[in-house]
Point group: C2
Chain length 134, copies 2
DNA sequence: CGGGATCCTGCCAGATACTG
DNA sequence: CAGTATCTGGCAGGATCCCG
């Protein structure tokens, strides 16, 4: 596999870390995976679990993960339509990763939020003094 | 902390997983962290390790991680200038996560690439038949 | 050497409306 | 119910030039 010059649309990746980011780094993917870890979910069920995600974005991210066979999409041919999403075998292998991410976030969220606020205050003070100089 | 309606620019997050993505989900952040895991790096050293990243993007992502105190930035007041980046204590806590990501990528990259190629071929075939119908 | 400042562009995400 | 289709604006990210 040649690096840097993919011969078609399917990319080559210079580093495994980059590749993993490409697979689960989508804005909502890991959150979707998290919700699928506790069981099969229907489309609107996922919408209710993630109200901030628009329908369109949810669909797109689900499609990408379906292509990567991270998740499985089962369509029931009935009226009204019914579609169930679940973790595919490859998706199961991501469970430890998602779990680690969740634990890290829970443990450090408050701290980082404080860091960000501090940096924000600093920037404002800086803007103030540069105003006073003029 | 109110959800959904942050009272200033510093966001609140509905879920720890989402938050973690926000911290390390930047396009290059986890790759930068990976390179800092093996030791302190200078700016141009990082550029050489990641030629695909533009200077601007490298700077921006480093700044964000500095604000979050994931990494530490040490400036030497000398000519020519010298800046060293290293993992801050909070960044150290991310090492297991990055390692897991790297291992997952290494183990499954080839498989997923194949899945993507297959899906691509499928889409092309589909486009072909829909052409033939007209 | 290690950036900052600017300008520019594409594509991504949101909103809305429609459908099998 | 579980999606597509279309338009649209914003901003992520590239290219380029400048600077201490």
């Amino acid at each position: 596999m040649q690096l840097g010059i993919p011969h078609d649309e399917v990319q080559a990746f210079a580093c495994p870390v980059t590749f993993t980011v490409d697979v689960i780094g989508g804005k909502w993917k890991s959150l979707i995976l998290f919700h699928l870890m506790s069981g099969t979910r229907r489309f609107n069920e996922l919408r209710r679990l993630m109200p901030e995600v628009t329908q369109r974005m949810l669909t797109l991210q689900l499609r990408e993960m379906e292509v990567d066979q991270i998740i499985h999409r089962k369509v029931y041919l009935e009226v009204p339509p019914k579609v169930e999403y679940s973790l595919a075998p490859l998706g199961q292998t991501l469970v430890p990763l998602i779990t680690t991410m969740r634990e890290w976030g829970a443990a450090h969220e408050a701290t980082v939020i404080e860091y960000r606020k501090a940096a924000q205050v600093e920037r404002q003070a800086e803007a103030q003094t540069s105003l006073e100089r003029n």
